[in-house]
């Protein structure tokens, strides 16, 4: 009886065409690219990394380096996991001119000159040769070419998810774990790296059938509808359907978990998306992959893993014309032989590494677990094994052929005598490597167990479970139960009260091995065939041979970690999946240690290579954009918008010159809604402000506003802003746009440590729209919109008042950042646009103009007003930043007092000064100031000043140069240009305009 196909939803084959290295290849729809190439007889799909040897399909599951190609411009795509699509353009990599005929194969002949670590040893002598070599190596080595024109197509995005239980791996254990947990009432996310769920069962019908034979009495579903009427377990197809349809299970397929971080936080790559999944419990059911045997020429196209052969047979409906030899040490080899034979391949021989496979007088019983699949006689007359010879205690020594396997040399484990068999395919079924790196990553403790020939968990990390083949339960019947156990255990951890759950776990009981591991004590013969040949590849990714490893050990790199770094074994694209087991076995053998003593290299994320875009791509949909209430108006007025933190702000509307002129001559208005705004109330606000600011606030009268700077305890200037007193216990503060959040958090921190102070703080930054109306005619404009008395007596410079503007209650501060008569008007944001439009309307008769940040920068520079963070840095204190008057060291205590007192004692070292350049060039920001030919300081702001008719700026210079009238030298394009220090502001030094 041939069990029915696992995959019941194969669409009727329709043919499509794609391109491989310039010629057309046909594919059935649903076939993988690699499958189609195999069917078309294209067996060389890549060239090896160092020696440019031809390489063909090996694992068919995305776990080896052999099928890496460039697909539609994206380099390093594994074509065995890519479905063929019409019109796809597939190009081989690492070959010139083509994979079929690669001139660089010359390196294969030169391997004598390229011993392990050759570039460390040879190429740096003479010294100047290394750059030459480096350039050459860079050109010929490497994998794929990045398409610099358009990069990778599409958008890289990010997704954040959470779940009760994450199950990693959609094989038989994972499916059962997911279903058991979901039926126990918790939410489950199942992540699987293949295109479809099912794991090994997808491509091994016999295993699939076997999975239904799990001891029914012990199943977690013993009394649930999941059991079929016949009493067995559901078929794999049914299981997959039930998992996919279960409302509590989310399935993420074609997705690899690349890291498991603290707190069960999983990093998952799905195509161009990074999914960050937070799981309360994690079940690792990642299974295992088959490992290759190390023999001479084991990298020839035509040498495949048994599971790769099965995938091609059953998933891609391919055939293997000609003869095949199977080398094995377990039942998998016999199964694949049978399946190949059924598909029309002639099996020349089965080479069984075991001296003594389980055998009876009648022949060799073929087991899968305890189930007898058949008895195999060397000269079996039964149709499925007819004509197959079994060589016991033999192994493969060498593959024959140059571009494809043409024959195989086999020998007893002693190495002699040898004999050659002719064949086109060498199929390897010599054991599995568990996919346990996520367990290591999250802190589980594992130990190599010789009886099962793999590392198994001896202590799990908190809230982490493992199930199935990673627990060395390779028999699907055991994996079914183990999965259910893990699923129930994870659910039970989340529902500790659920007694019934605990009972069901009890019913499953201990998972034993239904069948013993069918291999004798593990000898290195299971990893490496005996022969002294040179081209025995351990690491296919990096072209590292057995000899390279032994040489490296002889040179002293005997520890597995140093061996890895020196020889580069297991450092390739597959991250050691194909070579880790063998390299450890060789290292153990060569050091005379056991495998357990040799240990493993540290498992770190990423578990598989990731496109950089997946990590670095910006999650645009997660980033904040803030627009002021007047944003639409600015856009309509044709403003050029720019970024200021998260904010969009108008840079310029018409031109800086016109806007400047409007403010200086008539009236202008700028949107300053982005300022940070803080409302402070309470009996202790004055005390708080006295403590926070170096200036004095106890004497600030109601209805007045004062400029202030904030320092930290080291006396460094952090920010500036205005503080308005609107009532006895009520203050309204502004901060700069860029520091709004930092100052908010700064205030909160100091308040958090003083819960007994009566200070109530509200961040009202977003609640108020604000605009600065400035210019000689601004009073006249504002007068049209309010009943309040705006005269200089009633509302002098630095007055703060609450009044009604255009029908809206507003806070109006008479301050002058730009150096003109001006009003900073704060209104509730929902009225921002209304008030703005009212001002524009009222200002029309005065030819009012909106102005942007660029004009404001010039206007304030003429007044020598500094911008914190631009004109100051992490070493600037207010004494040196030309604000000594603001520091009141006679106050009792304030933040920064100690440091500022000491700075004052010490005297200024550098000083922020204003300067006038003698030429009309505009130096770049951060241009150097030189004194006596030596570096003295730098420019922090500069620009053309219409008031001065030349270039002005602010600069840090040594204190001895900071004297009015002193000449300093500014370096502009390599030339020194003299500039004159000026103490006074460049515009309206007496401030009469400001105060008018």
């Amino acid at each position: 009886m041939i069990p029915q196909q696992v995959d019941s939803k194969i669409p009727p084959p329709a043919t499509i065409e794609f391109e491989f290295d310039g010629h057309r290849v046909r594919a059935e729809s649903g076939q993988s690219v690699a499958g189609a190439l195999h069917a078309a007889g294209e067996h060389i799909v890549s060239r090896s990394f160092k020696y440019h040897r031809p390489r063909g399909l090996l694992c068919m599951s995305g776990r080896c380096p052999n099928c890496i190609c460039t697909v539609d411009g994206t380099p390093n795509v594994r074509i065995c996991t890519q479905a063929a699509k019409p019109g796809m353009i597939v190009k081989s990599q690492n070959a010139w001119p083509s994979v079929k005929f690669d001139l660089l194969r010359i390196f294969d002949k030169l391997h004598h000159f390229m011993p392990v670590g050759f570039y460390y040893k040879r190429m740096y002598k003479p010294r100047w040769m290394w750059p030459v070599w480096e350039k050459f190596i860079r050109r010929i080595a490497g994998l794929g070419t990045i398409n610099r024109e358009h990069g990778a197509e599409g958008v890289y995005d990010k997704q954040n998810l959470f779940t009760d239980v994450a199950v990693i791996g959609g094989g038989v254990a994972g499916l059962n774990a997911a279903l058991a947990a979901a039926e126990a009432g918790v939410s489950v996310t199942l992540i699987d790296e293949q295109r479809e769920l099912g794991g090994h069962l997808r491509h091994d019908p016999e295993l699939a059938e076997l999975s239904r034979m799990a001891a029914p009495g012990r199943s977690a579903f013993a009394d649930s509808p999941s059991r079929t009427a016949e009493g067995g377990h559901p078929t794999v197809g049914d299981l997959i359907r039930r998992v996919s349809e279960h409302p509590a299970i989310t399935v993420i397929s074609s997705a690899g978990v690349f890291g498991c971080y603290e707190g069960n936080y999983l990093g998952i790559q799905q195509g161009q998306r990074m999914i960050r999944l937070r799981a309360a419990q994690v079940i690792v059911a990642t299974g295992c992959w088959e490992r290759p045997l190390v023999f001479e020429n084991n990298d020839l196209p035509g040498v495949m893993l048994a599971s790769g052969v099965q995938r091609l047979l059953h998933l891609d409906h391919c055939q293997f014309p000609g003869e095949a030899v199977v080398v094995t040490d377990n039942a998998q080899g016999y199964r694949v032989a049978k399946q190949l034979k059924a598909a029309g391949t002639r099996i020349t021989a089965i080479v069984d590494v075991r001296d003594n496979p389980p055998e009876t007088a009648e022949g060799i019983p073929i087991h899968q677990g305890s189930q007898l699949l058949g008895v195999f006689h060397p000269a079996d007359s039964r149709p499925e094994f007819e004509g197959i010879r079994v060589y016991r205690g033999h192994t493969v020594v060498s593959a024959r052929g140059t571009r494809h396997v043409g024959g195989v040399v086999i020998a007893p484990l002693s190495g002699h005598p040898r004999q050659t068999l002719s064949c086109r395919w060498i199929v390897q079924a010599v054991g599995f490597t568990p996919a346990n790196s996520l367990l290591y990553q999250n802190g589980c403790k594992l130990r190599y167990d010789e009886s099962v020939d793999q590392a198994i968990v001896i202590q799990h990390a908190p809230a982490m479970y493992s199930a199935g083949a990673v627990n060395a339960l390779h028999d699907p019947r055991d994996a079914v139960l183990d999965g259910q156990r893990a699923g129930l255990a994870a659910a039970a951890a989340l529902r500790p009260q659920d007694v019934e759950l605990a009972q069901r776990i009890g019913q499953i009981g201990l998972i034993g091995r239904t069948s013993p591991i069918e291999r004798e004590a593990v000898a290195s013969a299971h990893y490496v065939s005996p022969s002294g040949a040179k081209k025995k590849f351990v690491c296919l990714c990096e072209d590292v041979t057995e000899k390279d490893i032994c040489d490296a050990i002889d040179e002293g790199y005997s520890n597995i970690e140093t061996l890895k770094r020196y020889s580069t074994v297991s450092m390739g694209p597959c991250q050691g999946k194909m070579c880790q087991s063998a390299s450890i076995a060789i290292c153990a053998r060569h050091n005379g240690q056991s495998i357990a003593e040799t240990g493993v290299t540290t498992a770190r994320p990423p578990e598989q290579p990731l496109p950089l875009g997946v990590l670095a791509g910006r999650a645009l949909h997660f980033s904040l954009v803030r627009r002021t209430p007047m944003h639409a108006w600015h856009e309509k007025a044709g403003a050029k918008m720019g970024d200021a933190g998260n904010w969009k702000r108008p840079q310029v509307y018409s031109s800086v010159a016109q806007e400047y002129e409007a403010v200086r001559q008539r009236v202008g208005v700028i949107d300053v809604s982005t300022l940070g705004k803080i409302d402070l109330r309470g009996a202790d606000v004055v005390k708080f402000l006295e403590f926070i600011y170096p200036n004095r606030f106890a004497n600030l009268k109601v209805g007045r506003v004062r400029y202030g700077v904030i320092c930290d305890d080291a006396g460094i200037l952090l920010d500036d802003g205005t503080i308005a007193r609107l009532g006895d216990e009520r203050f309204f503060l502004t901060t700069t746009t860029g520091n709004a959040d930092a100052i908010d958090s700064w205030f909160r921190w100091w308040l958090a440590g003083r819960p007994e102070w009566d200070v109530r703080m509200t961040n009202v930054s977003g609640s108020y729209a604000a605009m600065n109306l400035a210019g000689p005619r601004s009073r006249e404009v504002l007068k049209k919109l309010t009943d309040a008395d705006l005269s200089s007596d009633a509302m002098p410079y630095l007055a703060a008042s609450e009044c009604t503007i255009a029908g809206v209650s507003a806070i109006v501060l008479r301050i002058g950042f730009v150096g003109e008569l001006g009003y900073e008007i704060h209104v509730p944001s929902q009225f921002g646009l209304h008030v703005w439009e009212a001002i524009m309307e009222a200002g029309r008769e005065f030819s009012i103009a909106p102005f942007g940040l660029e004009a404001q920068r010039v206007l304030r520079l003429e007044k020598k007003h500094l911008l914190p963070g631009i004109d100051t840095d992490a070493l600037s204190n207010p004494l040196e930043a030309d604000l000594p008057w603001i520091v009141k060291l006679d106050k009792e205590d304030f933040i920064g007092k100690e440091s500022l007192a000491r700075a004052q004692q010490r005297g200024d070292r550098n000083k922020l000064i204003g300067f006038r350049l003698s030429e009309s060039v505009i130096p770049d920001l951060a241009s150097l100031v030189l004194c006596d030919g030596k570096l003295g300081g730098r420019i922090t702001s500069c620009g053309y000043s219409p008031a001065v008719g030349g270039t002005i700026g602010l600069a840090w210079v040594p204190a001895n140069l900071a004297r009015n009238g002193q000449t300093i030298q500014v370096q502009v394009n390599g030339r020194l240009i003299p500039a004159v220090v000026q103490d006074e502001p460049f515009y309206d030094p007496s401030g009469s305009k400001l105060k008018s």
């Binding site: 390093n76 080595a141 994998l143 971080y261 450092m571 958090s745 921190w749 958090a752 205590d893």
Partner: protein, 127 residues
């Protein structure tokens, strides 16, 4: 002619660069913290502000100030530290954490009673 160049290097670099930067940057740490207001939230919603330390009193010496301003204790073990729930409720609160394991042992507001006598209480400044 397309002789391929750099991906191998990129892979190795990726391995190292990403491990050391992307995954070890503090804002990429994956542990979670219980905000006294909001409950359990991922760590990148918070801002870390160092261990809680005592601000020197008015009569402190220059050495004490220098110690406070420029030196950090860098404890391997339990410490009480300030965290700020930057992306949500904006609360500053105290976290007792084992710096070796990132295990959060306790979170509380400044004025909440100290639960185990072990924690020496948080200090921020002299008042």
């Amino acid at each position: 002619m397309t002789l391929p160049d750099i991906l191998h290097f990129a892979l190795v670099t990726l391995h190292f660069a990403l491990l050391s930067q992307t995954f070890q940057k503090t804002n990429q740490m994956s542990f979670q913290i219980d905000c006294p207001n909001c409950g359990c939230r991922p760590v990148w919603e918070y801002h870390y502000s160092g261990p809680s330390r005592k601000r020197p009193e008015g009569a402190a010496t220059e050495r004490q100030w220098a110690e406070y301003l420029y030196n950090r204790p860098n404890i391997a073990g339990e410490q009480t530290e300030w965290w700020y729930h930057r992306s949500a409720c904006k609360l500053w609160f105290l976290v007792r954490r084992d710096t070796r394991t990132n295990l959060v042992l306790e979170t509380r507001r400044f004025d909440e009673a100290v639960v185990p006598e072990k924690s020496e209480g948080a200090v921020q400044s002299a008042e």
